[in-house]
Symmetry: C2
Subunit: 275 residues, 2 copies
């Protein structure tokens, strides 16, 4: 089992920011990444459809003998994690719990902001989890949908003055409420860390992928299931990419999210995993 | 053993940036922090003296029943880690190895920069470790001493135009060599992350404390020695502070490094641990 890959799946290519955090802290592991780029975004689909799609991705991962499944997609993590867990024969890590714990531990003034797509914010998944975990303690959670962030980030306008203006507008209410911790509740948002810190100096940014990765270190180590570290320290991370469609911007966006170029992904028809 | 604290020691208060990373990823643990503020900085002292001081701090930690010793000080990590390991009855983590592995894994163009105090840079500890680990692979390491960074950071001038000018000067040669990865080889430097990223967009910054913390997650998990996560998620981290002297700027600097205020530290006379 030690040498089996870690499976990371997402509705699209945003989950590469999560994969990047896993590579940072578990650089010796093998990875399988699956992006359902033919059906992205999941945000506006019914919970039933999201669950069905999530089950297909889970089956794909199990068929590829992964030792751990990482649900990088915030929408799937919000509405279908139970379904994935039920179906899976290996441990499953989603985005909500690790970020909620980290946010609760980071806040000093007990005022936490959450930003995400409209679907994630409307689902209240982060707010509910934070409230549940903080049981009894008075925590204020202020959430804000930032629907323009995903298209802007995919366009690569990370430093554009327009991006700054839009960010300032989105963050205004959070600033007013004096949040000291901000959960980046969407796989794309870690690319805006630098700008968000400029707009809100001193803020603790919670990157779900980062905390999910550290949780994976712990879970795999406890089960003695981490791959052995090799003597050769310099090699490209071992990743197999699968997508249900190759969008024209795939290589550019992947490079931006991972920090290095990726090879051709394999195309997979997820309908084959519907039974 | 699970419930015993993690001991973090440093020549001064800079090691709080390392403690901060440990708290981020191991928020449920108990910590003992020891800063040898009466004898800081260690950088210009002879290796024999640094070893003697390191042994005293190690004895202090062992007497306080720590389950893990973290050597946050880059100078001690460079010249005295063997001595600490030999004396210690519990695992020891230094700063050099985790950062060297992380840098080798992060670089794409195989050109790594290292910045640190003059003493750390002159010791070649990071360069030697990176070269040793990359055995056979051609890696270029360019190092640069940044002696003004520590006083500027302790002064709190993180965003001052002067700090930008100084940083640009220090980084000029590294930029010219087209490094794509930069090791922050001093406990203070993580406070300049935002500025350094502005000056070198796209650079991978390697924070030794962060990677040391993740190594600790792994080591403790493998030995089933992590504290159990409690139901109560909101509480201040449990830290006991010890220093050999209380400098006038202690509370301000500690707040800046940790992101929250600290209570009065206990004063310890490390000479008592010299036998």
């Amino acid at each position: 089992m030690k040498n089996n890959p870690i499976g990371v799946f997402d509705s699209g290519i945003g989950g590469l920011s999560v994969l990047k955090q896993f590579i940072r802290f578990l650089p010796f592991e093998r990875y399988i990444y699956l992006g359902d780029t033919a059906r992205v975004p999941y945000g506006n689909r019914s919970p039933e459809t999201v669950k069905r799609y999530a089950m297909e991705s889970t089956k794909f991962m199990l068929e590829h003998d992964v030792k751990l499944i990482v649900v990088a997609c915030n929408t799937v993590s919000s509405v279908a994690l139970d379904v994935v867990r039920e179906l899976s024969t290996v441990p499953v890590i989603g985005m909500i719990y690790p970020a909620a714990v980290a946010a609760l531990r980071a806040t000093v003034n007990k005022t936490i902001g959450v930003i995400g797509t409209r679907a994630t914010i409307n689902s209240n998944a982060y707010t509910d989890e934070i409230k549940k975990l903080s049981d009894g303690d008075k925590i204020k959670v202020i959430s804000q949908a930032c629907p323009l962030f995903v298209p802007i980030i995919e366009e690569g306008w990370l430093e554009h003055p327009a991006t700054r203006l839009i960010s300032e507008e989105y963050l205004a209410s959070l600033k007013e409420e004096k949040i000291d911790t901000l959960v980046l509740g969407c796989t794309h948002y870690p690319l805006l860390k630098q700008l968000l810190t400029e707009i809100m100096p001193g803020i603790s940014l919670i990157d779900s992928g980062e905390h999910a990765a550290v949780m994976a270190v712990r879970m795999l180590a406890e089960k003695e299931n981490l791959i052995e570290e090799k003597d050769v320290y310099v090699q490209k991370p071992q990743i197999e990419f699968f997508v249900s469609d190759v969008p024209s911007t795939f290589y550019d966006v992947a490079q931006r999210f991972l920090g290095f170029g990726v090879e051709s992904p394999s195309i997979v028809n997820l309908n084959d995993y519907s039974k």
